[in-house]
Amino acid sequence: MVGAASALYAARAGLDVVLVDRGPVAGGTTGAGEGNVLVSDKEPGPELELALLSGRLWADVAAEPGVAKAIEYEVKGGVVVASGAAGLSALEGLAGRQRTAGVETVPVGPDELHDVEPHLAKGLAGGVLYPQDAQVMPTLAAAHLVRLARGAGTTLRTGRPVTEVLRTTDGAVRGVRTPQGDIHAPAVVNAAGTWGGELAALAGTSLPVLPRRGFVLVTEPLPPRTVRHKVYAADYVADVASDSAALQTSPVVEGTAAGPVLIGASRERVGFDRSFSLPVARALAAGATRLFPFLSKVRAMRGYLGFRPYMPDHLPAIGPDARVPGLFHACGHEGAGIGLATGTGHLIAQALTEKTPDLDLTLFRPDRFSEEGV
C-alpha cells in the first residue's frame, strides 16, 4: 500500500517510476489488513499529524472519478467506548488532547450510545465519536492506486524479488537487481513493509522492523449499517502503544461495504508464524460479543492473519537514509500503514524532488536508531 502510494505521488511529481514487488500487488501485509484510515487511535504527536495529512489526501484521491466506490472509501466515523468510569475519564482526557491537535471529537453519553450504534451492549459508561475516521478495502485501495500510478507513467513489475541493491563505488544507490534483470535508478524507495529490514540490509544498512502478528475474523454478511462505525474499546489505544511481545487482544468491530463484519484486533510478536491460533480467535470472538451481544449468534466464516511492520518507537521510517545516498525508506507503519500511506507517499515524493516536506521528517528519520546503538 505504501509502495503504491509512493509510486503514485512520485509519478505525479514528474518522476520516472518503476514499482517492483516480489509477489502480486497487495501480497504482503496490505492484503491482510482491515483498511483503517484512523485519527482516533493516535496520541498527539508526529504520527497524528501524519494521520491528519493522510486523511485529507485519501479524501482527495477518493474524489477522483470512480475511485471512492472502487476502493470502498467510507468516512464512517469511529466510536471508542469505555466500560467503566476510569476508562471513560482516560478516554475523555485523550480526546481533549486530540481536539487541541485538530481532531474532531464528539463526546457520547451512556444514554446516547445506542442512537449512535444501536446494537451496542447495555451498561457501557460512554464513549467518543471521531467523525474523521474512515475505511477503505485495502487490497482494492492498493490496486487502484497502482492503476492511477500506471496512468501517471509508472511501470509495474510484479513477481520480481529484489536480490541486491546496486551501488556505485562511493556507496550511492544506482538501482536494484532482480532475477529478471537489473533496474537502474538514482533513487530507491524501500516500501517493503514488514520485510523493510531485509531490504535495508541488502542496501548495506539497517532498519529495526519486526513482525507483530494480528488476526482478523470475518463474519457472514449482515444487512447494511448493522454496525455503523468502527467501534472499539478504549484499551485498544493502550495495546497499540504497548511494547509487549505477549498476546494482547482488544475488541475492534466494524462493518464493511460488502456486508461481513470484521473483528480484530490481536497483537503478538511471534516472528512470522502463520499457524492458526484458536486461543486468539476465541479472545477476539469473546471481546466482540461483549461489545455487541447480538454477534454471538452470527457466524464467523473465515479468519486471516498478517504481520504488522513494528518499529521499537511505533513511528514509521520516512525519508532519505543519511547512511546510503539515494536510499529512501517508507516503511514501519505497524498497523496504520493503509491509513498513513497517502501522507507517506506524498512526503516521499517531496523528499525525492527535494522540496520542503509538508511535515517535519526529523522524528521519522530512518537512521534515528543507529545513533542510539540499536
Partner: protein
C-alpha cells in the same frame, strides 16, 4: 491408569469406518464423528430410512463390503468400543501443546506422541449451533473429498447439477434430477452416474467425456501394470459400459459441453468435439435437448482441518507416511483427503491408519505384516489413480469457452470479466489476490466451488486455500470453544 487410549475419527466414510474398526478391534476407544445422519460417507450414502427402499443394494456396488463395515460398526457400538456421533459437523481440531495434567498426562498413548492431546470441536443440530467438544489422544482425519466443477456459459441454470449431486439424489432420496439428462465433464464418476440415472428411469441423451482416448493409450502401461487392480476396475468399467449400451446411451468421447441454454431453466446443451490441443473443433457443435445436466470434473480433497492443525500438504493432498501419519504428531489421515482414489483405496488406508494408531497409542511400532495386504492394495491403487488422473483431464483450453458474463463465483456473483480485469489491469497474479480484489471465493462455500475455475482464469496453478474454520461457526460458540464448564453448553466425550 486403566483408561484406554481414545481416538477421534473425523468422517464415517470408507476410510473412517475401516480405521475405526481396526483400532477398536485392538483395544482403542473410538469416537466416530460424522456430519451425516448415518455412516457410509459419500460412497455408501444411505437411502433415507423413511423412504423404505426395498433393494438399496441395487444402487450400490460392493454392497457386501458395506454390510461388513456396517455390521462391524454395530458390534463395536454395542460393546461400547465405538461411540458414533451423527449430525456432528467438525469445524476445528485443536492441538494441546502441554500435557493434560496429572490425571491424563501419563496415561496410555501420550508418551508415544508427546502431545497434550486434541479437542475436536463440532456443531450439532439442524442449525449447527450446539457446540460439542471431543477430547482425544489421537485424531484420524478421514474428511473425504468434494466435487470439482468447472464453469461454462449457462452453468448456473436450474437443471444443471453436479454429477455427484445427481448420484446423491439417487442414492439418498431416490429422486431423478430430470426426465432427459446429459452427463458431462470428465472422470470415472460419469459412467456410474449415467448408468444410475438410466437404470432409475431417466432418458440419458448423452454421456460427454472430455478425456482423449489417446491418453489412455499413453498410460496403458501403468493402467495395466497392476493386474489385480486394473482387472477389477476394467470389469467395473465394462459392466457400466454394458449398462449404458443396454439403455442406448450415446457416449461422446473427447467432447465437451460448450454452453447450457434455457430461459429460466435448462432446455438444451451445446456439445462439441475437441481437437488434439484440447480446443473446440469448429463446426462440430450440436444441440442436445435436455432438462437436466449432471456435470463433474473429478474430485478434490477436503484438507481444511488438516491445514488448520498445521499438517504439511503434498500438492493439494494431506501428506502422509507409510503408516498414514501426517507430520503433526498424533494426527493420522486416510482416504480421499490424502489423494483421490475411491472407496477401496480409502478402506486400505483406513485399515493401515487404524492399526498404526492402535500400536502407536500403546507405544509400539506397528507390525508391517499385520497390514501387508492393505499396503499392497494401496500401492497398486495409488499408481492406478495417478494414471487415471492424467487421463481424465478437462480440455486444456477450457477457459476460452468462458464468456465474460459467465458467473464464476456463485456465492458472491462474480463474473469472469471481473477476474480477468483483476489479473490484466490490477496486478493480481495469484488466487488469493484475485479473491481479495473481486470477492470470488469469499462467500458461503469459501471458494470450494470456484477455486479451480478462478485459478484457471487467473492462469495460475490451483493452490490449497487456508480456511481456519472447516465450517462457519457462531461467534458465541467460538468465544467459549474449549471451555469445559458445568453450564451444560459444552459436552466432552
Amino acid at each position: 491408569m486403566n483408561e484406554r487410549p481414545h481416538l477421534a475419527v473425523v468422517g464415517a466414510g470408507p476410510a473412517g469406518l475401516a480405521a475405526a474398526l481396526a483400532a477398536a478391534g485392538r483395544g482403542v476407544r473410538v469416537t466416530l464423528i460424522d456430519s451425516a445422519a448415518e455412516a457410509g460417507g459419500q460412497f455408501y450414502r444411505q437411502t433415507a430410512a423413511a423412504l423404505g427402499a426395498r433393494r438399496p443394494q441395487a444402487l450400490h456396488h460392493q454392497w457386501r463390503t458395506w454390510e461388513r463395515l456396517r455390521d462391524g460398526l454395530a458390534v463395536h457400538i454395542e460393546a461400547g468400543r465405538i461411540t458414533h456421533l451423527t449430525d456432528h459437523h467438525v469445524w476445528f481440531v485443536e492441538r494441546h501443546d502441554a500435557p493434560r495434567g496429572a490425571d491424563g498426562a501419563d496415561g496410555p498413548g501420550r508418551v508415544a506422541d508427546g502431545a497434550g492431546g486434541f479437542t475436536a470441536h463440532a456443531l450439532l443440530g439442524p442449525e449447527q449451533e450446539q457446540p460439542v467438544a471431543v477430547r482425544a489422544d489421537a485424531v484420524l482425519l478421514a474428511t473425504g473429498g468434494y466435487e470439482k466443477v468447472l464453469p461454462f456459459p449457462g452453468w448456473t441454470l436450474p437443471g444443471v447439477v453436479t454429477a455427484g449431486g445427481a448420484q446423491a439424489m439417487l442414492k439418498g432420496g431416490l429422486v431423478l434430477p430430470g426426465r432427459t439428462a446429459v452427463v458431462a465433464g470428465t472422470g470415472p464418476l460419469l459412467m456410474p452416474v449415467a448408468a444410475g440415472l438410466a437404470a432409475a428411469g431417466a432418458k440419458v441423451a448423452a454421456l460427454v467425456e472430455s478425456a482423449d482416448p489417446r491418453a489412455f493409450v499413453r498410460h496403458a502401461r501403468t493402467l495395466a501394470a497392476q493386474p489385480a487392480t486394473s482387472a477389477a476396475k476394467l470389469a467395473e468399467g465394462a459392466q457400466y459400459a454394458a449398462e449404458l449400451a443396454r439403455h442406448r446411451v450415446r457416449t461422446l468421447v473427447h467432447h465437451t459441453v460448450v454452453a447450457a441454454h434455457g430461459s429460466g431453466r435448462l432446455e438444451a446443451v451445446t456439445v462439441a468435439a475437441l481437437d488434439g490441443d484440447g480446443r473446440i473443433r469448429p463446426g462440430t457443435e450440436r444441440r442436445i435437448p435436455c432438462d437436466s445436466l449432471a456435470v463433474g470434473h473429478g474430485m478434490l480433497p477436503h484438507t481444511d482441518l488438516a491445514q488448520a492443525l498445521g499438517c504439511r500438504l503434498d500438492g493439494l493432498n494431506v501428506a502422509v507416511d507409510d503408516e498414514q501419519r501426517t507430520d503433526v504428531p498424533g494426527v493420522w489421515a486416510a482416504g480421499e483427503t490424502t489423494g483421490i482414489g475411491g472407496a477401496v483405496l480409502s478402506m486400505a488406508e483406513g485399515r493401515i491408519a487404524g492399526l498404526s494408531i492402535a500400536a502407536r497409542l500403546d507405544s509400539r511400532t506397528p507390525d508391517v505384516r499385520s497390514y501387508q495386504a492393505a499396503a499392497k492394495a494401496r500401492t497398486g491403487l495409488r499408481e492406478f489413480f495417478a494414471a487415471l488422473e492424467a487421463v481424465y483431464a478437462p480440455p486444456a483450453h477450457w477457459t476460452e469457452q468462458i464468456t465474460d458474463d459467465t458467473v464464476v463465483c456463485r456465492c458472491e456473483e462474480v463474473p469472469a470479466s471481473a477476474i480477468r480485469e483483476a489479473v490484466d489491469e490490477l496486478g493480481a497474479g495469484d488466487v488469493r489476490t484475485v479473491k481479495l480484489l473481486t470477492r470470488a471465493g469469499m462467500g458461503w462455500c469459501q471458494g470450494r466451488m470456484c477455486g479451480p475455475a478462478v485459478a484457471g482464469l487467473a492462469g495460475c496453478a490451483p493452490e490449497p486455500s487456508r480456511r481456519p474454520f472447516a465450517r462457519p461457526v457462531p461467534l458465541g460458540v467460538l468465544a467459549r470453544a474449549g471451555e469445559t464448564d458445568d453450564q451444560g453448553n459444552v459436552t466432552a466425550y
